[in-house]
């Protein structure tokens, strides 16, 4: 190496990365081994067997759901029988009498009840339920924050008067930690799920995340609009372009790569705000589960959850980077070229 920051061959890079992973796994195994040597029942640094148990318990369907679904079907059957004014045989696990009434049922009716039962009591695989709840909250919130952040940043970058109006509230919001203002969001937005058209959403999570993400996102977009050389905009006007033309044909396309970059930067904060909000105000989701499992000291569930969250963030970052490269092949990371 003749000087710092000299590039290394790709093969060596992969080998070094592998060594890094080996160090991590090896270090953890050693720590876990030492802890279990002192206390075989230790759950704070679970060993591989405990981890596998944890993963299994969070990825398999429990009997509870099956029982709930069956109870629902029985209730429907009872009502149906009552309406028909015919005797019915109550369900009994031992006598298998359920089969009798099932045979007596019109097939379409039974199918509809079963579908309704599944809809009412969906699978309670812990990981599936938590992931579904958290990721839908995450995507809704990130999309809404990025959308409004982009519009606000664009308008602020293009029009000085809008910038003057919005700078003070954004500057203030930037320095208020949304997690610290959780009580305010509780009071204003409530914890109930709302419905817009056919989309279900929870205003508390969206509001909290938008409050944390929009100011930074809008500022990044505003700065990228400002960085477009003035001469380039002047050129647009000398081509008979109106304000709208210059914004739509020159400003927005050149701001898109920065929108991707800002979205990538917003992934981390969004996850933090989401987990914090779920920790305090959810009955399903990663944040909720982390709180419950941490209290139970079930680290064999907590650690995999953390790794899943990190992998999710990493995967989404990678995906956005690829999308940016495909969508903006002209863009180089150095800035406006």
């Amino acid at each position: 190496m003749r000087m710092i920051r000299e590039p290394i061959p790709i093969k060596r890079r992969w080998v070094l990365m592998f060594i890094g992973v080996v160090f991590l796994v090896g270090g953890y195994s050693w720590l876990s081994y030492s802890a279990h040597k002192k206390n075989p029942k230790n759950t704070t640094i679970p060993n591989h067997v405990q981890l596998i148990d944890g993963i299994e318990s969070m990825t398999t369907i429990s009997g509870r759901t099956e029982r709930r679904r069956q109870r629902y079907l029985d209730k429907q059957f009872e009502e149906w029988q009552a309406a028909r004014d015919k005797p019915f045989i109550k369900w009994n696990d031992e006598t298998q009498e359920r089969k009798l009434w099932e045979a007596d049922m019109p097939a379409d009716q039974l199918r509809a009840w079963k579908a309704a039962a599944i809809e009412k009591y969906p699978s309670d695989i812990m990981l599936y339920d938590d992931a579904r709840a958290s990721f839908s909250r995450f995507y809704e919130s990130l999309f809404i924050s990025c959308f409004f952040g982009f519009i606000i940043g664009l308008l602020m970058g293009c029009f000085r008067s809008i910038e003057a109006v919005l700078t003070p509230p954004l500057a203030l919001a930037k320095y208020i930690a949304p997690t610290a203002a959780l009580a305010v969001f509780f009071a204003i937005l409530g914890t109930r799920e709302q419905k817009f058209w056919f989309i279900k959403y929870e205003p508390l999570f969206i509001g909290l995340i938008a409050f944390g993400v929009i100011p930074h996102y809008a500022t990044t977009i505003m700065q990228s609009v400002r960085d477009i050389p003035r001469q380039r905009l002047q050129k647009g006007y000398t081509m008979y372009g109106s304000h709208l033309d210059v914004i739509t044909s020159i400003v927005i396309p050149q701001t898109i790569p920065y929108a991707y970059r800002a979205a990538i930067a917003a992934i981390g904060p969004t996850i933090i705000f989401l987990i914090a909000a779920e920790w305090a105000a959810a009955d399903v989701g990663f944040g909720y589960q982390l709180r419950i499992q941490s209290r139970l000291l079930a680290m064999n569930i907590v650690y995999p959850y953390l790794i899943i969250l990190a992998a999710f963030a990493f995967g989404l970052t990678l995906l956005l980077r690829i999308a940016q490269k495909i969508h903006c092949p002209w863009f180089s990371e150095g800035g406006h070229s």
């Binding site: 000398t238 008979y240 180089s332």
Partner: protein, 307 residues
């Protein structure tokens, strides 16, 4: 006498209390290729911004011939004046051909017409692309059709920028130091391109038609200014101001010089323009000599004739 295509009439420009331009008055005729020279910071770019309509003069007015052949006051940017900026400022998100086609796209459509009536927009757009391809071919860079600006050399960028301006056929083309970032061979090509434009103008005038190009070039290179243009205007701050001026009244046109006319294949004759060059240096550039009595006299004579 035909109507001028550009007319500066007693233009003054101040930024706060600092005067940048002082009493600029000149006319340009259609088909003229004029160079604007002067020391750095003398206000050439300001003069361009005023002509583009991006800024307003503090006093005086600037008139530009519109499409009906009448002189109209410049009140804002319009398609009548096109510019090739110093660093070309191509749109980085568009390939060469789309960069060129952007100009007619902006001139003939808006986002609503493009999205709401694609059946009428798309054939038009294909026409713009064909037109852009023709210009790329004419400038010898057809092979760079699908390259983004970051993958173009300085010379290629310059030609794309010129094509981008020419496709909309503006009345006046402004070139802000178009040669500054080019190597010697590319500069020679660019010079030839300007001479070809001049030749086309002269042919059109001979045939009784309207000359297609009116060009104003800002450059520091006096040799090039004299070689490619037919007229040279020198802008410079004058050091000896009159008693009524409490401080330097900004820059003004201190030299308005006809230059020898060359055709693209004529041999460059440096000796022929040495005298013009020396004169420009003495009057506009050289801090020592432009303060001589002779230079001062020239300024005063010019101011006297203007008024």
């Amino acid at each position: 006498m035909s109507t001028p295509i550009v007319s500066f009439r007693g233009v003054h420009k101040y930024y706060d209390n600092t005067q940048v331009l002082h009493d600029i008055s000149f006319d340009l005729m259609p088909g003229s290729i004029t160079s604007l020279v002067g020391p750095s910071g003398c206000g050439k770019s300001t003069l361009f911004r005023l002509l583009l309509g991006i800024e307003d003069p503090t006093e005086g007015e600037i008139l530009v011939q519109n499409n009906e052949g009448e002189l109209q006051k410049v009140t804002g940017p319009s398609g009548l004046v096109g510019i090739v900026p110093q660093n070309y400022d191509l749109m980085p998100h568009l390939t060469s051909v789309k960069n060129i086609a952007l100009a007619p796209q902006l001139a003939q459509s808006n986002i609503f017409s493009r999205w709401l009536t694609p059946w009428s927009w798309l054939p038009k757009h294909r026409g713009h692309i064909r037109e852009a391809e023709k210009l790329l071919e004419r400038f010898g860079i057809a092979h760079a059709r699908d390259r983004y600006p970051k993958a173009l050399s300085g010379g290629m960028k310059q030609r794309v920028a010129i094509a981008q301006v020419m496709i909309n056929k503006p009345k006046i083309i402004l070139m802000d130091e178009p040669f500054s970032a080019l190597d010697e061979a590319t500069r020679a090509k660019s010079n030839r391109m300007l001479l070809e434009m001049g030749e086309e103008n002269r042919k059109a005038i001979e045939e009784g038609g309207a000359p297609p190009y009116t060009v104003i070039i800002v450059t520091h290179e006096l040799n090039e200014a004299i070689y490619v243009s037919e007229r040279m205007l020198a802008l410079s701050q004058f050091r000896y101001w009159k008693s009524e001026h409490k401080k330097c009244p900004g820059a003004t046109i201190v030299l308005d010089q006809q230059c020898p006319v060359y055709n693209p294949h004529d041999i460059k004759d440096h000796t022929a323009w040495q005298e013009i060059k020396n004169k420009a240096i003495n009057i506009a550039f050289d801090d020592e000599t432009r303060q001589t009595e002779k230079a001062l006299r020239e300024v005063e004579v010019r101011m006297h004739t203007d008024h």
